[in-house]
Symmetry: C2
Subunit: 233 residues, 2 copies
DNA sequence: AAAATTAATATGTACCTACATAAAAATGTC
DNA sequence: GACATTTTTATGTAGGTACATATTAATTTT
């Protein structure tokens, strides 16, 4: 690319996206064949193909062999978000991070937790409650269950020093994750630890991970009032 | 691919991902060069490259020219979610969809709304409140502002028949979107329309869209109690 | 020894070719 | 005309080549 005459696949993607936005290609329309777009823009078909793959992933177009490429009629808002280690999240906001273990017990998995994992039988799990603080104020209260079959090492970890969140992220990669968001009213315990008035609305992130078919951990993270999750469009 | 001997880039991606998961390549490690992986697996370097692009996007590895490819040490949970048209969302749950316009007024944009758009000056906006129902029960209450400069046509639309949500999605593509989630306590109006007890925790989605630099719409969607947003990992 | 220059190297990107595959369109058969 | 078969066509995918580009490593210069 010594001259700026060569189009990269991102250029093609942006051009096609612009045409969709300005209605050159309207919703439901069939786009020209990759080859025709390629020759029009002066690039190779593979370049157009790579651009189209990206637009497909973004939910803007649908492609079918022989059927061609169509602009989606029911566009969805598709956004991605990152949930980093809580410590990192706090530090990135420029706050001081602290962590406090509340409880740590070996328990048989209750039905509600089995349901989250899709388990049929009871399992021995480590039940951990902990509080993350930002600038010495409550930030997130986490209620976590860890399957001791997939993760026996957790029993040896000193959870007063390092949070299960951090240890797991560093030592236990997962192959599948389920994330859900909801809102709950602060009850006695939540209100207490988060120093929030009883009844106040709290943002909840529930995350469950597996390695292959085996459950690793499920955690309910309740954020202090005012928490906002921001996603990138 | 007449024989199953040929590896597609997704195969390579899955293989490399598996190696990261089982610690063949541990966090922080440098991976072999694309070319070496290619010759080891018996495919072309371009195939490995395509796989690596995907793993980079997924947040599993980081690449640098000459520096090589490294397994990320601080993996993040990266998930994607779709926010479809509300009608579609309701119908996909197998429920009957209904919609009800509450109010529709031309107003000068208040400061809070200007802030969402990043606007410095006041603009004429259409302020619309509406209720979406599932099986005749309140589902989502939306409070929306539409910029009449980018979207003057909205003034001609009969919003008693079609929701602004739907009209905009079909007729007003956007180039940028900002999505945030939070939780609020039901106040008088929310509680009323959503038939929820005052004070109950409600899940809130705030979405703002632009076309180029121009604001299109910003909407606060308050969901009835029990609403959950599910993301794909 | 510090600074500047040069070489080496791994990834980034585009091109073209060749063939696979799914699905629509055309054709043939009863 | 209904159904089955064949052909056509647009996308899917891998291979291999050529060169760009960023960064590190090595070398030379001061």
């Amino acid at each position: 690319m010594n001259e700026d005459t060569r189009l990269s696949w991102t250029d093609v993607r942006d051009e096609v996206r612009a045409r969709i936005l300005n209605r050159t290609y309207a919703p439901g329309d069939r786009l020209p064949r990759d080859e025709d777009i390629a020759s029009e823009l002066g690039c190779a078909r593979t370049t157009v193909h790579r651009a189209m793959q990206d637009l497909t992933l973004a939910g803007l177009v649908e492609r079918k062999r022989k059927g061609g490429t169509h602009v989606r009629t029911d566009p969805v808002t598709r956004a991605t978000f990152d949930i980093p280690i809580t410590r990192r999240e706090v530090e990135q906001r420029g706050s001081k991070y602290n962590y406090q273990l509340i409880s740590r017990n070996l328990e048989a998995s209750p039905i509600s937790i089995m349901a989250r994992f899709g388990l049929q039988t009871v399992a021995n799990m480590l039940h951990v409650k902990a509080l993350h603080l930002a600038d010495n104020r409550p930030y997130i209260l986490e209620d976590r269950w860890i399957d001791t079959r997939s993760t026996p090492e957790i029993l040896e970890v000193d959870l007063t020093r390092e949070s299960a969140n951090e240890w797991l992220v560093r030592n236990k990669p997962y192959s599948r994750v389920d994330v859900r968001f909801s809102a709950i009213n602060a009850d006695g315990e939540n209100a207490d630890y988060l120093e929030a008035p009883t009844g106040s609305a709290l943002f909840v992130i529930e995350r469950t991970t597996w390695i292959g078919p085996s459950p690793i951990t499920t955690v309910q993270s309740v954020a202090a009032p005012g928490y906002q999750l921001v996603a990138q469009g």
